[in-house]
Structures are given as structure tokens and as C-alpha cells.
């Protein structure tokens, strides 16, 4: 049993079959990549995992519990954190405040009427936030307005926010999309470091083969809404079907 089990998931938009009979199993403490050409249904699948979309049929189980019909925040509380393609952070808030919010969510749950105690007195939260920031080498930027960060730092902050919740599964949606080569390599190093230092499962949707093959332990190839193959990176590289459906075109 994987930590994330997707079984027979179908999703149609009008006449378009976005997902057809998707089966996927992500094993605990692995890095699992999902790749596929544009329009293969990667984003639709991801949205089904986090509660933004509800599949027409099939089941999505996380750690033995169904996520279907739950709100995104409930799914996050179950232990799934998501990193967006373009960094989604609280732009009006400082870096430190950005970090504290997920820490509160982890500690207090989806809603807590904590209206009278000062933020400055939440020592445990501050400590935790600072700890993760330090890990991510961002402690010097703690008082900056997060909207004024560079794009790479925004991505780093978003990942830090997710990590501060100690998720069991981290979902990354094309984390290096639109990045320069240097930034991409930094991100790869960062993710590698995360992988090494923590007990965490990472599912990554990616276009960039360089990223996929540097990180992933298992790869699922999606084409036209259906998984073609699932295997280790080495096997995938040589797989004829994959070449035909995907690598051939992108090379």
C-alpha cells in the first residue's frame, strides 16, 4: 500500500475526457514524478488530489482515508501540502508572517478564534518558523515584504511554508517552470536536501526532464489522461512507448 492510492479515476469536462481510468500509487518516503506532454491531464490529476476538482468516478485514498469531497483545507490538514506553479504566497505580509501562518494551521487546525493573544507571544510558532527559515537560508529576509522577494526566493518561501507544516506528502506543480537554469539547479539542490533531511514523500509534476531525472525515484508517464507506464527513471528513459508519446516530441 502506498501513502497515496489513486484508483480508476475518471474526469470529463463536457466532451473532453481529461482523465481516463487513472491508477497511481505513491510509496511513502519516495520522490514520485508524474510527467507527460501538455494536455496529458497532469494538472487535472493534481487538482483531484487536493480537493479542487472531484473526479466523476474512482477513489483517491491518502493514508487509508478518502480525500474525495473534502475541501482543500481539510486535505491539507490530513498532511498534503501543495506548491503551486507560480508561487502562491501572502504578498501583503512579511516573510516571517508568511511562515507563521502555516505553523498556526498545523498547531491550531483549520479555524481557531485566537483573537486576544499577541502574535509576538506565540513562542513555539516563532521558533518553528525561524527554524525552517534558517534551514532554507532565508532568516536574513524575515522582515522583508514577501511581495518584494525575487522569484526564486518566493518559490523558496512557498516551499518553506509547506515544510513548516511537516506534511507527509508534498505536491509540487512544475516547481521550476519559467526559471532560469541556475535557479532551476538551486531548486533541485534544495529539494534534494529536503529529501535527505526529512522523512517526506514528494510527488512532483514536471515538464523539465532534467529536474525529473535528477530527483525522481519513480516516474509515472501520463498521456491523454491515462497512465502509460510507471517505473524507475532508468527504465523510463529507455521505454519505447514513452519515447514515442513524449520524449521524442520534446527532444
Amino acid at each position: 500500500m502506498g501513502i497515496l492510492e489513486v484508483k480508476n479515476v475518471n474526469k470529463r469536462f463536457g466532451g473532453l475526457q481529461a482523465l481516463g481510468n487513472v491508477n497511481l500509487s505513491v510509496q511513502e518516503n519516495t520522490v514520485h514524478a508524474i510527467i507527460g506532454p501538455n494536455g496529458a491531464g497532469k494538472s487535472t490529476l493534481l487538482n483531484c488530489l487536493v480537493g479542487k476538482l472531484i473526479p466523476d468516478t474512482g477513489s483517491v485514498m491518502f493514508d487509508g482515508q478518502s480525500v474525495l469531497g473534502r475541501h482543500p483545507y481539510e486535505i491539507n490538514q490530513m498532511g498534503i501540502s501543495r506548491v503551486f506553479q507560480t508561487p502562491e504566497i501572502f504578498g501583503d505580509l512579511t516573510v516571517m508572517e508568511n511562515m507563521m501562518i502555516p505553523c498556526f494551521a498545523k498547531r491550531d487546525g483549520a479555524f481557531e478564534m485566537n483573537a486576544l493573544s499577541a502574535v509576538g507571544r506565540q513562542k513555539d510558532i516563532i521558533e518553528r518558523a525561524e527554524h525552517v527559515l534558517e534551514d532554507m537560508k532565508m532568516l536574513d529576509k524575515r522582515n522583508m515584504h514577501s511581495a518584494s522577494l525575487s522569484r526564486g526566493d518566493k518559490r523558496r518561501l512557498e516551499i518553506a511554508m509547506c515544510l513548516s507544516q511537516e506534511p507527509r506528502l508534498l505536491l509540487l506543480d512544475e516547481p521550476t517552470a519559467g526559471m532560469a537554469r541556475a535557479d532551476t539547479n538551486n531548486t533541485i539542490d534544495l529539494l534534494k536536501q529536503i529529501k535527505e533531511e526529512r522523512d517526506i514523500t514528494i510527488a512532483i509534476i514536471e515538464h523539465d526532464m532534467h529536474v525529473v531525472f535528477s530527483l525522481a525515484e519513480r516516474i509515472t508517464v501520463l498521456a491523454q489522461g491515462t497512465p502509460l507506464v510507471e517505473d524507475t527513471p532508468d527504465k523510463i528513459k529507455g521505454h519505447p512507448k514513452v519515447r514515442e508519446a513524449y520524449l521524442g516530441e520534446s527532444a
Partner: protein, 408 residues
């Protein structure tokens, strides 16, 4: 002190001092001088400053922090007033039960309206609240005041009649709203120093104490994790949702808190003057509290209070300047000059105070999105020799940042 950091404590103390000393501060001109026209230190206006300050502080908790623009908050103020007057009619003129009930009723009402309206955001939310407020107004003005079922007394406004039960009223208690026998409209001290005279009014000090209390409460809310969550709602609801936080109870809580502030303000209005008119529920009355908050500075602690004071000053002082007064001011000029000045200023004073207010409001929205507080900070920055640090960041307050204009 009081669980606040030193900066906030200072702010609270400054506000408390200003409020307590307001009867002096607002009457800077000798009573017989020509400038006495601009004195604002009489009980009714001081009460209004403080009451609408409370209203605006509450509104700011919703709008300033979460960015949800409600056009229906006057409805909560209105039901608060109605609840208070009903307590006067049924129980007694004691203001404690009246104010308590007005807060409770406003809370219930805002739970109901908030629960429904907050299912939408942005302009849809604004229009939903607008629709609710207009419905409440229409109901209060005519439907609920028909002779068979008279809940609001319609156009005239709800008031206490000699035939009302007032079960707890007894001989010796004043026949006006009072706090355990202390009549709200009485003054406890009317000193005269030279040409200056000042009025210290019981009702004003009740309002003042409550303002300081709710201002303190709003600082606590701003600085709390809850306040941070509200700012997160405004900043990025998507991220909030994917961070395991349910935005709706947060916004609903903010909505209800601000509704209760409005209810308190409504209750106090009735406690100072036991008549509740339906007009205070009209959508333009809701627009007024929006104006106050923006004018002062949405999202800042002190801004809404300043804005409320500013608008009420305009409404009560500016509207009373008439051409005769203008002629007196400019009487030192040659005749032609005098008439010209009066002619130029005429559209903006007296009956034209709406025009002045509208212009001012536009100027603030265009050039000072942070309101008067931002204006003050810019001026202060100028005096400090243009230190680079912008005001907003240093006190950790939350100003809507002016976005760059579209390039040509």
C-alpha cells in the same frame, strides 16, 4: 502594558488622553470670537465623534483586514438602535440593558447576513450586503411600522411614549436615558476660563470609556493570530485554503465582530438620544462608514477614528457655515473682493458640504490610498529629512499599497 508592546501602548495612551481631554481640545477658540464657529466641543458632536469612531473601528476590522467591502453595515447600527430603544420602552431608561441587547441583536443579525453574504466575495459580496441593507431599510421605514405591527415607528423614528410599560422604571430615576440614575444628557462640569468655556457631559464619557475599551480590543485583534489570519484572507485566499485554513469562519467572525461594534455604536446613539430613525440603515449611511474608514486609512488602527471625526465635523460644522458667516469673515476685504470670495466659496460651504466631502474623498482615494494616516506619515517623513523608511512597515500596520498606475 495591557498585553501590548510599547508602541501600541503609547498609541492607546495617546488616544485615551485625546478622548478624555476632548472637551478642551475641541474648543480651542474663545466662545465669543468669530472662530468659535469651528469649535466642536459640545456634547452632541463629541458623542458622535466617539460613536462613529466605534462604528468605523469595527468596520475596519472587516474591511481593513480582510478586504471584504460591506455596503450594509448601517443595518447593524440600525438594529442596534432599535433594540436599545425597545429596551427603554419595555424595561427602563437604564442604558446598560439597552446597550447589551443592541450588541446581542446586532450580533445575531450579522451572523445571519454574514453567513449568507460571505458565500461570495469581491463585488458580489458588496452587492449582497447592499441588498440586505436596502431590504432592512425598506422594512424598517414602512413595512414594519404599519399600525398593526409597529416595530420601528417608520418615518418618525422609534421613541419612548408615556404609555410604554417601562417595568423597571420608578420614581426618582430620570426620565431620560441614564446609568443608574446619572442622566446621559446632563453635564457634570461646565468650567469657564477667561473667554473659553467647556462642557463635560456624562453621556460623552460613557461613550469615551467604551471607545477606549473597544479601541484597545481592536489593537489586540490586530496584533493577534486571528488578525494575522484576516490579513492572510485579504492577501491570498487560495494559499490560505491550501495551507489548511478555512477562510470562511475567519471572515464570518470578523463580520460578526464588526457587526457587534456597529450594534454597540447604534445602542450608544440611542442611549445618547433615545430615538431610532430608519434612515440610519440606508445604504448611503453604510457608504458613510466606508468613507470614514478610507478617508482615515483602511487597515490602520487610528485611521477610522480620524475619518469618523473628520466626516462628522464636516457634517455638523461645515454645514452650518452660511453666506452671512462668510461675509463676516471677509468683511476686512474691499467690497468687490469680499463678494468675490463669498461667491467662490459659496458652493462648497453650508448646503454644499456634500460637494466638498465628495471632492475630498476622491482626492484621498486617488492620491492617498492609505488615507489621512498615510498623509500624516508622508508629512512626518518630510520633516524627518526624507528618511527612506516608509511609515507603513515600521509599525507593522497594514496599508493597502498604492499600485503602480498603468503605463501610457
Amino acid at each position: 502594558m495591557f498585553g501590548l508592546d510599547s508602541k501600541d501602548t503609547k498609541l492607546l495612551i495617546v488616544v485615551a488622553l485625546l478622548v478624555i481631554l476632548a472637551p478642551f481640545i475641541l474648543n480651542p477658540f474663545p466662545t465669543d470670537s468669530a472662530l468659535a464657529q469651528f469649535n466642536a466641543g459640545y456634547p452632541d458632536l463629541m458623542q458622535r465623534f466617539v460613536i462613529f469612531g466605534i462604528f468605523a473601528i469595527g468596520f475596519n476590522i472587516l474591511f481593513g483586514l480582510t478586504g471584504y467591502l460591506s455596503f450594509g453595515h448601517a443595518a447593524f447600527l440600525g438594529v442596534g438602535s432599535y433594540a436599545a430603544v425597545w429596551m427603554f420602552k419595555l424595561l427602563s431608561y437604564n442604558v446598560i440593558p439597552a446597550i447589551a441587547l443592541s450588541v446581542i441583536v446586532a450580533a445575531l443579525f450579522s451572523v445571519l447576513i454574514g453567513y449568507i453574504s460571505l458565500r461570495r466575495s469581491g463585488i458580489y459580496f458588496s452587492i449582497l450586503t447592499l441588498a440586505f441593507a436596502q431590504m432592512s431599510f425598506a422594512l424598517a421605514y414602512s413595512v414594519l411600522s404599519n399600525p398593526k405591527f409597529n416595530l420601528t415607528n417608520g418615518e418618525t423614528g422609534l421613541q419612548v411614549y408615556p404609555g410604554d410599560p417601562q417595568v423597571l422604571h420608578h420614581e426618582g430615576l430620570p426620565d431620560v436615558p441614564h446609568l443608574f440614575g446619572i442622566a446621559m444628557r446632563d453635564n457634570f462640569w461646565e468650567p469657564v476660563f477667561g473667554g473659553w468655556s467647556f462642557t463635560f457631559n456624562n453621556g460623552y464619557y460613557l461613550c469615551a470609556v467604551l471607545l477606549i475599551a473597544v479601541f484597545y480590543l481592536s489593537i489586540r485583534i490586530f496584533r493577534s493570530p486571528f488578525g494575522m489570519m484576516l490579513r492572510a484572507v485579504k492577501s491570498n485566499q487560495q494559499r490560505m485554503n491550501y495551507t489548511g485554513l478555512n477562510a470562511r469562519p475567519y471572515t464570518l467572525a470578523a463580520f460578526v465582530i464588526s457587526g457587534m461594534y456597529a450594534g454597540l455604536a447604534g445602542g450608544l446613539l440611542a442611549a445618547m438620544d433615545p430615538l431610532a430613525g430608519a434612515e440610519r440603515m440606508q445604504w448611503t449611511a453604510s457608504g458613510e462608514v466606508v468613507l470614514m474608514t478610507i478617508l482615515g486609512g483602511a487597515g490602520t488602527l487610528i485611521g477610522p477614528v480620524l475619518g469618523a471625526g473628520f466626516i462628522k465635523y464636516f457634517e455638523n460644522i461645515f454645514s452650518k457655515i452660511n453666506d452671512n458667516v462668510l461675509h463676516q469673515w471677509f468683511s476686512f476685504m474691499p467690497d468687490g473682493m469680499e463678494d468675490f470670495m463669498v461667491f467662490v466659496l459659496h458652493p462648497f460651504i453650508g448646503k454644499g458640504w456634500h460637494l466638498t466631502l465628495g471632492l475630498l474623498f476622491m482626492l484621498v482615494v486617488i492620491f492617498l490610498p492609505g488615507g489621512l494616516v498615510e498623509g500624516g506619515q508622508r508629512i512626518a517623513a518630510l520633516f524627518r529629512g526624507g528618511r527612506k523608511k516608509r511609515g507603513g512597515a515600521e509599525d507593522g500596520e497594514h496599508h493597502p499599497k498604492p499600485s503602480p498606475h498603468v503605463a501610457e
